[in-house]
């Protein structure tokens, strides 16, 4: 009985160095593939979702909240008078959010002062170039953010269509801009930050928004620039503009 039991038992395979090494290499390959999948698709979904909800909660942190006016009856924008202009906050402080319906019904990302890599951009913020104007002021409200990683806030910058609305929410309300055009420049193309973009020494008579990020995707060889021009201002008391109701409340 015991003798036959031993003969039936399959011979145990010896663990060889080459075998273990091979299995480790296969595992490493699978991990690299998993990381690529993470980097290309998953990361910005996860981080982006976190940023959307963080941006939605900013109004509460500012202590302003939202009026009870339903979005469908939201008030008319202020066009005749000049919109309010905040003073620039300290470095890395979140003072606004960026809402672009073209990027999705939940797209709402925090804007912080400064364009430092570690203290602002890598924390998922859209950074405001401190040398440029604040929203509502005559001149250029210029922003920078990651194309990929860190939430990929400007991942779809190339998808903007002429006339797409770009909203900036501050404690005062919503500044509405319309996307006008894209431009591709070298990393040294600081002319895009001028009060009148790409015009040196001009006195601004309009209000612009300028979004900068790297181009092509996963490269830093160039910069892609998106320009918008100011349309109107929606005061907070008048309610959330209907177009961005889902973005603002985080219900999208």
């Amino acid at each position: 009985m015991t003798a036959s039991g031993e003969t039936i038992r399959r011979p145990r395979r010896r663990i060889s160095v080459a075998g273990v090494l091979g299995e480790l290499l296969i595992t490493a390959g699978a991990l690299v593939l998993a990381f690529l999948g993470y980097q290309v698709w998953l990361a910005d979904l996860i981080v982006g979702g976190q940023l959307n909800s963080e941006a939605s909660e900013l109004a509460e942190e500012w202590g302003v909240g939202y009026s009870d006016v339903p979005p469908s009856e939201a008030g008319d924008p202020t066009q005749s008078e000049d919109p309010p202009v905040q003073t620039a906050p300290g470095n890395a402080i979140r003072f606004a959010t960026l809402i672009i319906p073209r990027f999705g019904g939940d797209y709402n990302r925090p804007i912080a002062e400064g364009v430092g890599t570690t203290d602002v951009l890598n924390k998922g913020n859209i950074g405001h170039y401190p040398t440029t104007q604040m929203p509502g002021a005559l001149g250029n409200f210029a922003l920078a953010s990651h194309r990929s990683s860190g939430g990929g806030n400007f991942r779809d910058l190339h998808q903007l269509r002429v006339g797409d609305h770009i909203y900036v929410e501050t404690p005062d309300g919503w500044y509405q801009y319309s996307f006008r055009n894209l431009e591709y420049v070298r990393p040294s193309g600081v002319g895009v930050l001028n009060p009148v973009p790409q015009v040196t020494g001009a006195q601004a008579t309009e209000r612009y928004i300028t979004l900068t990020t790297c181009n092509p995707f996963f490269s830093t060889a160039e910069r892609i620039i998106a320009y918008g021009v100011y349309d109107s201002f929606y005061p907070r008391a008048g309610g959330v503009p209907a177009e961005i109701a889902s973005n603002v409340t985080g219900a999208g």
Binding site: E23, A43, S149, G150, F154, G189, V190
Partner: protein
Amino acid sequence: MYAALWRILPGPWWVRLLILLVAAAAVVTALVLWVFPVIDQMVAPQDVTVDE
């Protein structure tokens, strides 16, 4: 290595499979939550601003 792991695990084959699936899910979750974000910041393009 993996063959040895399979032999060490207790129970019938479907229990072993279940244990391995749970372990794999735990490893993937840990990677996505803690390991990959750190690597991502090291390899992704960081330069998004225009400057002199």
